[in-house]
Every structure is written in C-alpha cells, then in structure tokens.
Symmetry: C2
C-alpha cells in the first residue's frame, strides 16, 4: 500500500502532529524515462519549518494539501530510465511518500558500499556540506583560533566542531543536556562543552571556557545564544549564521539587543548562507568529508527513527533537541 504525508495546515508556533495528514494513495507506474522509487531513508531538518510558512524565501513554501518533501534516499524498484537500474540507490529532494516515480532530474546515485545509506542524508549530504562550507567559506578558520558552536550535538554542529579540530582550533560546544556535552567531548573531541540548561549566564560560561574570546561563532540557534556569543566575540570575529532554530516557531520577530555597535567596534562579520550557494563545490566537499571519514578523523552521529508513520514526530522532536547528530527516519 502506498502512503503520502501532506501538510494539512500551516503550523502556528511549534508544529503539531495535527498539522500533518497521512493519505492512502495509488501505487504509481513509471513512464518511459522514469524510475519507480521506494523510500528508504528520510531526512527531517529544522529548515523545513520555514517552508511551512506562507512566505517568500530562498525556496518556495509547501502548499497546504500537498505532500511535504525533504532529502530522501530511495531505492529503484523499477526502471524505465536509461541511467539507472533496479537496486540502484538515489538521493535528492523527494516527497514524503512510500513510493513515487521520478525522472531523476536533480537526483544522484549513491553507493551503499562506500557509506551507510543514511550517511548520504547527513555527513555526506546536506548537513555535512553545510558544516564544511559554512565553516570554511564564511568562518575562514585559522589554526590556534577559538571556535564556538551552538547546536553542537546536532547534525551540523557535530560536524562543524570536528572540522574545527581538524583545522587546529580550540573548539567549544553549546548543547542542552549533560549527555550531549559528554558526547561532543568524548566522541567528537570538542575541548569544552556548555550545557545551556545548567548555566545562569551563558555569556559568563562562554567567557570561562574561552577567556581569550571567540574568533569564529557557528550559530545554529540564534537569539539569546547569539547574544551571549557576541558578548565574547573578538576583534575581526566571524559569525556564521547557519540557522536560528530558536526562532523558527516564533509567530512574530522577537527583539534582542542591537548588535551593530559590536559589529563596528570589533570589525565583526556576520554572514548567513544556505548550502546551495556552494553547489558548484559540492563534489570537492563530499570528497574531503569522505576522506576524513575513512581516515577516522570524522565521526558520523545519527539518531535513526524507525517507520514512515514516525516522520512528522521525528521532525517535531527536532525542536525539543531530541536528536543527537543527524535525525533520520528509516522507512523500510
């Protein structure tokens, strides 16, 4: 039986399971030039929250009544496409459906012998590339500098910190539980970790871990966490604005201390990006990340949830930080 998950209504604030609806749909038949795909792994990502709003952004919003889509790894179960055969695995943006047909435009072949299939949604996929290009192109890391990462145990943050260590930086992570702090220090090699749920002043906690200040701040969180980082930023500091998960569910733009005086006084750069800006360099990025993985310098951390019916909940759980590393749903 085939099924699809559609956006039933646009979430108000934090997404609820009632914002999504499961629909039974027909099994499609591939036309000439198409493949029939069986969904194997589905990526759930904070940025999808933005597409659930009815507003202009770098990518069109989801339509109410239409299926959600995200990065997926799928298996070819029937092929009428000259480049792909039954048993091949493809990844790219696909709908939240158990089965779907595709002309394979925008999809690429992945090799289950090179890495586990789920890795192509994480460390060898969008999140790994986001970490790699965000840190390198915008953060411009230098050996001996101090890197602060928020969402440090998450899909992007955990990779950013590890790349920081490879580059010879002092790396400090912010995360929301002692378990995550242990993880980032013991498994990912961060020099220090701050549990934001256990500090009175995040700003002071950062100062304690980084008495010489922060040179690069990789921000996945925004809001108070960004403020605290800015209080500790060094002259010529770079802030990589990768995400602002703390703000995605807000219905109005919250206020915070104005940052422009700090930017001027300390010659600081803040720069936002999406990974697609660096699309031309993806092959180089994937190659470098794979190499580091093979050399044992980079560890892939995943939270794998089982079952197609769990996709909406896995997405919702991101906003409570229930994932360690990349949150992925294994469908079959």
């Amino acid at each position: 039986m085939n099924q699809s998950i559609i956006l039933k209504q646009r979430p108000e604030g934090t997404p609820q399971s009632t914002d999504f609806k499961f629909e039974d749909i027909d099994q499609p038949t591939p036309k000439e030039g198409e493949v029939l795909l069986k969904t194997r792994f589905v990526s759930v990502d904070p940025y999808l929250r933005g597409r659930m709003r009815d507003e202009k952004s770098y990518i069109a919003p989801f339509e109410v009544g239409a299926p959600i889509e995200s990065a997926v790894v799928a298996e070819v179960v029937e092929s009428r496409h000259k480049n792909y055969k039954k048993g091949d695995h493809l990844t790219g943006m696909l709908a939240w459906k158990k089965y779907q047909t595709s002309d394979a435009n925008g999809l690429r072949l992945v090799d289950p012998d090179q890495a586990p299939l789920s890795a192509y949604l994480g460390i060898l996929g969008m999140t790994g590339l986001t970490a790699y290009f965000g840190l390198n192109k915008i953060g411009q890391p230098k050996e001996g500098e101090c890197l602060l990462v928020s969402g440090a145990a998450g899909a992007v943050g955990s990779v950013v910190g590890q790349i920081g260590k490879i580059k010879g930086m002092k790396v400090i992570g912010i995360a929301g539980s002692d378990e995550k702090i242990t993880l980032i220090q013991e498994k990912f090699g961060f020099d220090a970790g701050i549990n934001y749920n256990k500090t009175d002043s995040l700003s002071k906690a950062i100062k304690q871990s980084a008495p010489d200040g922060i040179d690069v701040y990789f921000d996945n969180v925004g809001s108070y966490t960004l403020d605290a980082a800015m209080n500790n930023i060094n002259q010529f500091g770079r802030v990589v604005n990768c995400g602002a998960i703390s703000l995605y569910n807000e219905t109005e733009v919250p206020k915070g201390p104005r940052l422009e005086t700090t930017l001027v006084k300390k010659s600081v750069k803040m720069q936002g990006f999406i990974v697609r800006n660096f699309e031309d360099d993806f092959p180089e990025g994937i190659q470098q990340l794979s190499k580091w993985m093979k050399e044992g310098k980079l560890t892939n951390e995943e939270t794998i949830v089982q079952g197609f019916d769990q996709i909406p909940q896995a997405f919702i759980d991101l906003f409570d930080g229930k994932n360690k590393g990349k949150m992925v749903v294994e469908v079959a």
Copy 2:
C-alpha cells in the same frame, strides 16, 4: 596664549558643553627632533563619542582631565625635526590644543596646493577613505545594483553615494531634512532621497524608491534605519556597518528586531569595520579619490565652523545632524 580642551567628565547620553573644559596652558618648546605645531583645522567625528566612554574598544578611551584628540591639520611654526621645515603642514591624530610639540611620528605631510587643507580631514582623509574602503572592500559593489546610504548628506555618506554612482549603481540616500535631500540629489547625483523625518514608514519609503530591493546598504546610523533597510535587503545583500550614530549616546544597549533569520534566509552579510583595517592600502585610496576629484567626479562637501572655542559645540552638533558633509573647525 595657548589653550587646551580637556574631557572634564564622561558624558551621560548626549554630550553637553559642560563635559568639556578649556584650560590655559604654557606654550611648549620643541626639543631636538620635534616640531612646534599650530593647529589650523580640527576634525570632529561621531566616533569620538565612543572614546569618551570608559570601555575597551579598538582605541583607548580618553582620560578624564586629559586633552581630547582627533584628526588635525597643523602648521609647523618651528622645526627641530630633520624632515620638516617651518611652513610645512602636517596631518594626523593630535590633541585639541592651539599649539603643541610633536616628534611627528604618525603624522604625514600634506600639500595645500593639491587640495584645500580641510580636505585632508575629509574627502582625502579618514572620512573619504572610510567611504572608499567600506564600500569597495565590504560592500563589493556591482554595476546595476542598488545602493542605499544612511547619513547620506554626512561626511562619509556623501562620498559613498558619489562612489556608488561612479561604479554605475542606483543610489538612494536617507537624510533628515529636505535641504539635505536636495543637496544629495543635485550636488552628489543620488538617484533618490528619503527624508526620514517626513515618512510614516521608512521601510515603505525605501520600497517605493527601490522596488527591486537593496543590494548594498551602507549604514552610518544603525537602529530603526538598519531595520528598515533589512526589510528591503535582497538575496546576497551586503550591509556595511560603518557607524551607528543613533546609538552612540545610549546608556544601555537598545533592543530591536532580531536579524539572524533574515541573514540566513537571504544569505546576507553584515560586516563592521574601521578604516584603520585598510591602512596598508591608504596610498591607493588617496590616489584614487584625488583622481576622481580632479576629474570632477567627486565633490567635497564641508561644514566649516570658525574658532577654537567652537570645537566642543561642533562635535555636539553632529548628533543633531547640523553638518552637511564633513564637519571641520577652522582654528586660525
């Protein structure tokens, strides 16, 4: 008679004339290797407000009871320095004194036959170089793009807009009076001007002048003006954080809408700087600015106030926008 202007007390909020004190001092005698300088022109600049605070910044704070210093053009009235002779003119950071001795370290010779002496404090000095390097190095202007400048009739803004036109941009300026709007359009060639005192919504006024959005925003003002610009910023937009005059007199950091979501969504860069970051390139900048002046492509606008006793008031008047172009005090 020699006189000095000292910082009597640190200003609270907007500086007052009572924060400054005139002191009669002795006429100094130059030692071997020194020159005796007579102050001719004194630059007053918004950034000096920052040095009146007792806080760490890119430059040491002024001390209470000690003379203020700023950029000055002075005449050598007696020389015991091998490189300079009586009648030479030097510029650099000097104290607010009628006469002072100096070893000339950090000063440079200027030529009154090449440009009026006051120009070395403005368009061929720190403010011209600030405009030139801020726009070029951080704004990365491209022909056909739209440039928005706040403080558009000021010392830096008026030069930024003119360089924008030289680069083939559409240039929109924000200023605080109809007279200034006329000035920036008729004298400096801006394509459009917005009088922020006559708009209900600055954000909408910008949208009207720039229906295709803003690619580069050169910010001298900060606060609400920055917010309004950010509402109109395009994908891959660059914000040059040059100053935040609206915030310099605040005693606490004011709050404003958080900008990080816009930075991420639109891949926007905000970057602060001070002109000294580009010190190595100053000779190139001065050469280019002089060339444009000689070609008639660049106009130097100044507000020249007369008299040593007027220096504090000229500085205070900056915060009411009483200057058009560079505010300079002619001492003698």
